[in-house]
Amino acid sequence: MSDGVAMPRDGKGAARGRRAPLSSLWLLAPAAVLFLFVFILPVGEVALWSVQGEAGLSAENYEAALGAGPYRTILFGTLQLSFGVACACILVGYPAAYFLASRPPRNRTLLLLLILTPLWVSVLVRTFGWIVVLGREGLVNSMLLGIGAVDGPLQMLYTRGAVYIAMVQVLLPVAILVMFSTMTTINRSLLMASRILGASPWRGFVHIFLPLSAGGAVNAWMLTFVLALGFFITPALVGGPKETMIANLIATQITLTLDWGLGSALGMVLVIAGFAVVGAVALLFRRVTTLSGHGGSR
């Protein structure tokens, strides 16, 4: 190889290879176009509505949305509920995902399919299911009354608890799926290495598996949190008036009171609050999330 036929002489070739080649950016085009028309433009329009008062530009809608009063209470209630639901999904889903990921690949597929079956049923149907289960004459109450554990039917439907249970149930498969996919990238020989180097199974889990799978848990948390923020059907059907979420409020403004300005402002606040929380979480756990994908698989 006297004349450097195969190797760039100036060494620029290597540097060029590392940069994302511009020519492949067009692969993003279909997604970008779709995103523009179904997300950026509509949200932009909503943003415009939200700052329109009776006489031109005005912040009055945001004052109404964020000022002391029911709207702000509902906004914080929504954030709080979504936070709790996302945390519950991670706590309940992590062991399940761990169990799945530690099965041999053949059994894994079937089990994963079972976990995902709820996703085939619409949220509406699943929520109605909870009405049947939790209602005054529902399954749980009949059972409790039947065995004499309670004197009269318990009020379970139309409570915050009902909203929690139904939302966790709806979002759990998503959380499991996200965490599971991270866990499968973790090389099992790392756990063997930890054992031979002196770690008990529990310490191997704490020092190796947990940090390597934490990125997936954080991603799952962010995803379920954002999905929970926008929940509408579930709190409307199984929650009481106190469990009104901001999505319900927005719907009321748009469809009933026809206050599109306030509805838009609430929508924008929801989007921004969601971004803020997710951004903060991503920033807080950035060391952990950059690890996933490096899950030690080689």
């Binding site: 290495a193 930890s194 002196g198 770690a199 008990s200 940090p211 080689r298």
Partner: protein, 384 residues
Amino acid sequence: MVPTMVDVNKPSSGTLNREAFSKSKATGATIEFQSVRKAYGSVTALHDFSLTIHPGEFLTILGSSGSGKTTALNALAGFSGADSGDILIDGKSVIDEPPERRNLGMVFQNYSLFPHMTVFDNIAFPLRMRRAPRREINERVERVLEIVRLGALAKRMPRDLSGGQQQRVAFARAIVFEPPVLLMDEPLGALDLKLREALQFEIKEIQHQLGCTVVYVTHDQREALAMSSRIVVLRDGRIEQVGTPSEMYDAPKSRFVADFIGQTNLLAADLSKAGSVSISELGAVYRDAEFQARPGSWYASVRPEKLQRRPAEGSDIAVDVTVQEAVFLGDVIEYSARTAHGALIHFREQRRDRDRIPERGETIGLVLRPSDVVLVPDLSKAGR
């Protein structure tokens, strides 16, 4: 640029820091496999595996994939139990102990460095698991980093290291707690040849210094010959032969070992009742009373360097061959040639100054001493 980075491509430049071994020699442990048997479903991976490994020995388990070598190592490490039999370390049965209680160092084939930990934390891991005090951890990790000459990389993450550097970290992590036994599962398999040879040398050096018992698993017979004090050749879950590298090379006990270790010419041999050995493909007949009328199918193993171009003397076997190919390798020339009886054989000679290399088609006379012929049975045909 990192000026202190090790140039692992220079095998002879003494990349090993001898002064770093300040502590006195630790003593290696004795390992005894007693009739260890392990089956996976209907496949028996290991049949009645019995072997005693002496303190400080560098024992290599050599075999192709599926030979049971990894099964044997995993049984010793405690990753997979045994169906029957026992494993003793320094006379104590460890068969029921989990891996973390066996106090073994281990280097994995893919290194298995913890990707979320720095080089320092990776190496400190076994010490932390043993709840060593912080000061001792720092001292030991620093010392072992010096031994493998990676001190400048302590704060790097594994993914930022080259393959050779990762291998060194894995090695440092395995020896930092001075285990009496070090297990190595094809630790050099992923590296290129030059680096592999450099690290072979270093591993040997460090083992000499530490004095630990090493159980090394590989499918590379050259690696096994180069590093081991003893080699165990495994085949289909059974021990084919145990011996020092020179015993394995000079006195293979089966056709498989003769073929597996080093290069050789395997030629069918007839053992007569009268005590003569006939190798028809060489047109050679000579007397060897030791092999008088042995049952089974036998082969003559003739190493390529034993066939020589020189005047015949005494009982030498003379073989005329026609050169098919001469491969020039610098110091050595390797030939393939055909005998008058049609067999293709290989031989090799040291190149002396300005020797003329015989050309293709040329007929030359070779000489072989009967004592350089090793007769080996074909055990796979003998119905084991």
